[in-house]
Symmetry: C2
Subunit: 129 residues, 2 copies
Amino acid sequence: MGRVMERNTRQRGAIRRAFQRASRPLSTNEVLDLARGEVTGLGIATVYRNIRTLVDEDWLITVELPGESPRYELQGKGHHHHFHCSRCDRVFDVASCTGNMPEMIPPGFVLDRHLIVLGGLCAECASAT
Amino acid sequence: MGRVMERNTRQRGAIRRAFQRASRPLSTNEVLDLARGEVTGLGIATVYRNIRTLVDEDWLITVELPGESPRYELQGKGHHHHFHCSRCDRVFDVASCTGNMPEMIPPGFVLDRHLIVLGGLCAECASAT
DNA sequence: GTCGTTGCAAAGCGTTTGCAGCCTA
DNA sequence: TAGGCTGCAAACGCTTTGCAACGAC
């Protein structure tokens, strides 16, 4: 019994800070770029391993998007959805939810989750047109 | 100029029929399994190549789901969304749409698409519990 | 000193591509 | 018969894993 102590390495600290500073979900490569600002030579395998660990311990949640590699963001933001910018490829949080999902399902089906992904241009890319 | 004639091979015919008979979006492997019923020895590369061709000529549309490999279905079904069964992994069409997406986006963002994915158990899996 | 963690390189896995032979038109 | 199409195997890109060295506690 008893969980093994988790160690605080420079790498793990840099990865955690990348998420804490970001206001949006990050991809593995975005984390690698951000964390390399602190830890040069940081390996991609270390980023993958730490993200998995942080998801396992519920510090991060996985944000799955259609046709995209997963993003990750801090746990505890409550129910929300996401917006994917087709120009810069970044993902942003969207606060509200339209509700009335249950009306949409066929008879006999049991609904236990729903996901909404919006797409288009983020404010930055839209104004840069 | 002028497009090159497309040939009707046994393989392509079997792949087309798999989609015509299915009432739901199919994955590459589902297509392989179904089409192999007609064409033994059918190669997976042929399935990938034909699906790509059929999407390019708008005979099929791509159904992208978060964290899943893409499914494909016949073009021309109009606006609808999808339900993913977490037990059998099959995907089903869902007819209606809740609307009021535009209200959800942050200021400055330009919305050009939205996607809703419902999840849970399909009628078959739910009744088999 | 222990043993969790890291970087590197190799292994996996699903998808794509090169190629020689096949087969439709 | 031309050239699009197919099956096989190799190549790809992304993610995971094996391993010896490293370093947090």
